[in-house]
Symmetry: C2
Subunit: 337 residues, 2 copies
Amino acid sequence: MTALPVPLADVRGLVDGALRAAVGRLDPHTYRVAAYHLGWTDGEGRPCPGPAGKALRPALALLSARAAGAPPESALPGAVAVELTHAFSLLHDDIMDGDRTRRHRPAAWTVFGESGAILAGDALMTLAVEVLLEAPGQGSARAARAMAAATRRLIAGQSLDLDFETRDHITLEECQEMVAGKTAALLACSCSIGAVLDAAPEPLTAALEEFGADLGMAFQLVDDLLGIWGDPAVTGKPALSDLRSRKMSLPVVAALNSGTPASARLAGLYTRPEPLEEDELAEAARLIDMAGGKAWTEAEAARRIGRARDRLARAALPDPVRAEFLHVADFVTRRDH
Amino acid sequence: MTALPVPLADVRGLVDGALRAAVGRLDPHTYRVAAYHLGWTDGEGRPCPGPAGKALRPALALLSARAAGAPPESALPGAVAVELTHAFSLLHDDIMDGDRTRRHRPAAWTVFGESGAILAGDALMTLAVEVLLEAPGQGSARAARAMAAATRRLIAGQSLDLDFETRDHITLEECQEMVAGKTAALLACSCSIGAVLDAAPEPLTAALEEFGADLGMAFQLVDDLLGIWGDPAVTGKPALSDLRSRKMSLPVVAALNSGTPASARLAGLYTRPEPLEEDELAEAARLIDMAGGKAWTEAEAARRIGRARDRLARAALPDPVRAEFLHVADFVTRRDH
């Protein structure tokens, strides 16, 4: 299993207390849903061992403070805010997408009902803004504004994704635009928010944000590869899981738009109303590969990571911080889960 | 019909352009849901005549700028933000409460689906924060923080209201706490946000907020009276509508907690699983009255308005502004719709 870089593994210790303090301000009913969703408690409110999730976004937020020469602790409000916003978006997305499972547990809406999950999502989104606006220092309002703008892009991405469900044809550009909102916007914000909180100069925060946008695209490209060709024993998801749900992921959309004979056969399989059998799932994966969807996705992930590295190389960063950002970029591209 | 005070009627002209500009930033799918919900377009996206709603909150926001000696235009971002937040909460509440009608039209979620309405609500909430943080002037971040805190209280109120649905007994204190969140928090914010944006001194903004909190409680108390004893021809709702839906409104909860023989009979009627017949609805209204629920609500509304007036009297306000706030308070208590 590809290991998280060391700074990522240590992040929980720094962020968890601040995150728990923020969420602890919610009313008791909303708290219960949020605590379950964050992996702190079970459906009965009993404490759970170990937190869920990779803590990738908070780790990047802490790193982005160091990019501006500030101590990582100064970005704690930013780390908490990006984690809260991520949690909000997953809570609402699971309802909208009808996903019943999240991180190997029943999704919050299946446990507490849709109303409880809608409300908890609303509360976490508001809390993210409050936490940023309460941060000491000059960059607090600018950080809250960056967070709100990222949230608007995230919502636009999810909106496009919902629209795809009603469409016969999706272009690769539209699919990339969807991912730029749904995944990359919040990662771009995570990579810059610590520097923004520290009132760092605009060229630095812009470079970090652009690095994060490319990192975010690469993250999703790799995620989409794992969703088809990932090892179930490592990803924790069933084999070919994205194909089972007929997800319009980037490799699929690239394949469907390739104009090859394989893409026509794939379209026939993918638009069928009936569930796909095991052999048909394997066939769909082969067709995506034959139509060039896998190769395009791998190449695009490599191109995005290359561009992310270039942006970082041109930014005025302390060397150890640059090295850690590159470490995270490596993790994102080489990870197997 | 009790008329709106003049300043209220003129508000739409000032606020509408700014509101439309803000909502116009949303992605096209989310925009469509929001524009329908705000009464600008029909379900097909065609423009509708005349905007919906009383514009009470934006009117108070503009007035609160004048309270601090600033021109009403300076509070436009505040007026837009409170209207956006109100719109967000109605969008999500209608889904959670299963309400299929809003302002004499099908609720947005029945037209665009739950997912579209969840997402549009999320977008409007984020937009409220963005609009405030983009406002020029020193008070912008403080205003966004006040708005986020009010939104958190609003969510806590809705959370308590959802909890009531699963409960056998609700105290009058709990019901008032619910209303303090669900209705009064945003009105309190509306009454002060213009002054906050103008970076007015804390004693003034606190007095305006307290005025608004009492005004908001009175508003809901009157609303609850109209929901039972209002004239359907004027309110636009069916007679006894709150009793049909077995709403745990303040007069009902006051009556149920009165310890009178009438309250016991009311409890018997109200907890029955079957829908109530017309004669039973009339009987329930009579029992609420006999149990003192109507008298308590009227007295509490008067007490709250009296307290609101006292708070205003002690605040350092220009006389014409105080007069207009009192005008709004009169409208809130004397209105018949």
